[in-house]
Symmetry: C2
Amino acid sequence: MTKFKARITVTLKAGVLDPQGKAIESALGGLGFSGVDAVRQGKVFDVTLHAATSADAETTLKSMCEKLLANTVIENYAITVQG
Amino acid sequence: MTKFKARITVTLKAGVLDPQGKAIESALGGLGFSGVDAVRQGKVFDVTLHAATSADAETTLKSMCEKLLANTVIENYAITVQG
């Protein structure tokens, strides 16, 4: 079993309302940042796990996303496995 | 003014306790995922903004992180500007 580090990025699908992003957008405006068009907020998970191969690690991580980490009705996820 | 898309990733500094990450770790264990060593949770912000150059956009984004998006006492941030 090798140790792998992976990053999972979970973002809202296009078209899904993001009130938190909107709030950040207006807070940035209030702080004097002009020219901000849009802000969307997402989550990132840095997972360290043991697996036989990098492909195995990716399969496990995909299953984690489907079962726990992402709500696939409204969210997309992306997985990057580092060495 | 050109439109730039950027991704800001905010993660907890090493050594800072992450109870949310710990909770996810034990939830994954409860779901039968073995071999998980550690989970750390962070935030991601997808910002669309107008700026003269990519370097200008990066300067603005850095300032946004320092002032609002990251708590630099306990968090690190990384900025990636796409075309």
